[in-house]
């Protein structure tokens, strides 16, 4: 099982549409709209790197997404 944070930058005026589409994607654990360097932080949980690639591909094809940066989680401490 692989978990990753995908930091998404969107084009101005497209955020709401991107959000709608991103919420329909499979294997997405959470989506947060944030202020700062990026616009969205998408947390995903996939079976393997193949599935991660498929998911990032799907994300990148959403109209309005300018850039994605994937940060694979190597170790996580959580509540």
């Amino acid at each position: 099982m692989i978990k990753a944070y995908i930091l998404v930058k969107t084009r101005v005026g497209k955020l709401e549409k991107v959000l709608q589409k991103a919420r329909e994607l499979k294997n997405v654990e959470s989506i947060a709209v944030v202020t700062g360097d990026c616009d969205l932080i998408v947390k995903v949980k996939v079976r393997d790197t193949e599935q991660l690639l498929q998911l990032t591909d799907e994300l990148q094809t959403i109209d309005g997404i300018r850039q994605t940066t994937t940060h694979v989680i190597e170790k996580e401490i959580t509540l």
Partner: protein, 418 residues
């Protein structure tokens, strides 16, 4: 798939509200049951309390076994709590917490049933329960080194005053002895139960999050053990075989008590899940809505047993103001929370595995991950206000050796897969 992604905050409130709606129905059935016990037994509250745990244990065991059945690669119970896999043995690190939570549950339940015998209208009893939020805030200040913000103090005061106003009985009276039992026995017991249930929920079992079904099962077993001890001690005191009478009464009223045990099971499961998301005091604030749900329950109950109805419009007005205050208090709790992701770059030569453990120690950090990519660490934090975020999180991050730079990204909106 889309409908499954709901905002985390909504999930928390949905869980806590469902829990309080079920709790108020359960309180209504309690009143009927305790009357039935009173017709047969002298020590009705004590025996009923014992039955609730004994029958509750059987019902909970049954539910947990049913929910352990696998379905499509996961357990049936995972639909109630995604962390649940199957019923398991209690683990060593859980025992101390279970002992305290079980003791709290035993005394709060028995105390509560004593109060119910004095005040038969559940809508006048339940509000007193809500003042427990003040105890929780105090405990959080001491135990979690978490000073409450002005909003937390204000909201708690509003909820408490609202609860007191809403609790005026239909005759316009407040029973002082009942109030004393609530403040000195019921509420401290509930605080123990709440705090340690939260600690249990936050505990990791073999690296996985703990689940509310196992917590509930073991809690009721430990509570039953304490209840047996209480029955034995009081049996010596009253010179009566209370344990035997208690078991006999549980058999006689098995079906009635099993209805209550079923309601309590679901109410607790939702409550424990909510506790895993929000602070104990905030969960309690939402649970205060029980008093609003208790009104229709009282009306329905009055069809079966005699409960005096309000005589003056003034009383209705006072109670309505009480309910409005409770809801207002809860809303102000709800809308004042700041969450953020912090992206961190480690200084060269620093071990990231150690660094995330350092960051994890900071109060308010919900999760911290070592990641590959532009940044080395991503932490998710929750704080009541930005000022508190600076005081408690940013200042601490700055003092950690090995952090080259970090960026705070406030969360404006969030969805979570549930």
């Amino acid at each position: 798939m889309m409908f499954l992604k709901i905002r985390k905050r909504y999930l928390f409130y949905a869980l806590a509200l469902t829990s309080s709606a079920i709790a108020s129905i359960s309180a209504g059935v309690d009143v009927i049951a305790i009357r039935k016990y009173g017709e047969v037994y002298e020590e009705a509250p004590l025996l009923y309390g014992f039955s609730v745990f004994l029958v509750g244990f059987i019902i909970t065991l049954l539910f947990c076994l049913i929910f352990s059945i696998p379905y499509k690669g996961r357990s049936l119970g995972s639909f109630l709590d995604p962390a649940f896999k199957h019923l398991r043995f209690v683990r060593k690190e859980e025992i101390a917490y279970h002992l305290l939570a079980g003791f709290g549950n035993a005394i709060t339940t028995t105390g509560y049933f004593f109060v119910l015998t004095v005040m038969p209208d559940p809508s006048t009893v339940l509000p007193f329960y809500q003042t427990v939020i003040l105890y929780l805030l105090l405990v959080e200040v001491i135990a979690e080194k978490n000073a409450p913000t002005l909003v937390e103090i204000q909201s708690s005061a509003i909820v408490t005053f609202g609860a007191i106003l809403g609790s005026l009985s239909f005759k316009g009276e407040i029973d002082l002895s009942a109030l004393a039992i609530v403040f000195l026995v019921v509420n401290p017991g509930w605080v123990l139960l709440s705090i340690y249930q939260r600690k249990l929920k936050l505990l990791k079992i073999r690296g996985e999050p703990n689940d509310s079904l196992n917590i509930r099962f073991w809690n009721i077993l430990f509570s039953l053990a304490f209840m047996i001890i209480i029955m034995l001690i009081l049996g010596q005191f009253f010179k009566k075989p209370l344990l035997t009478i208690g078991t006999e009464s549980s058999i006689n009223f098995f079906w009635l008590v099993s209805v209550i045990a079923t309601l309590a099971f679901f109410s607790y499961i939702f409550h424990i899940r909510a506790l895993g998301i929000g602070k104990a005091s905030v969960t309690q604030a939402v649970k205060a809505t029980t008093i609003v749900f208790a009104i229709p329950v009282t009306f329905i109950l009055s069809m079966f047993i005699p409960i005096p109805f309000p005589t003056t419009p003034t009383l209705w007005l006072i109670r309505s103001i009480g309910f409005i205050l409770v809801i207002l208090g809860i809303i102000s709790f709800a809308i004042t929370q700041v969450r953020a992701y912090i992206f961190i770059r480690a200084a060269p030569g620093v071990r990231v595995a150690k660094l995330i453990e350092e960051i994890w120690k900071i109060k308010g950090v919900d999760s911290v991950s070592a990641v590959s990519g532009t940044y080395d660490v991503i932490a998710r934090v929750t704080t009541r206000t930005l000022l508190k975020g600076y005081e408690r999180i940013v200042k601490r991050l700055e003092s950690i050796h090995g952090i080259k730079e970090f960026r705070w990204n406030s969360i404006l909106k969030e969805w979570e897969n549930v």
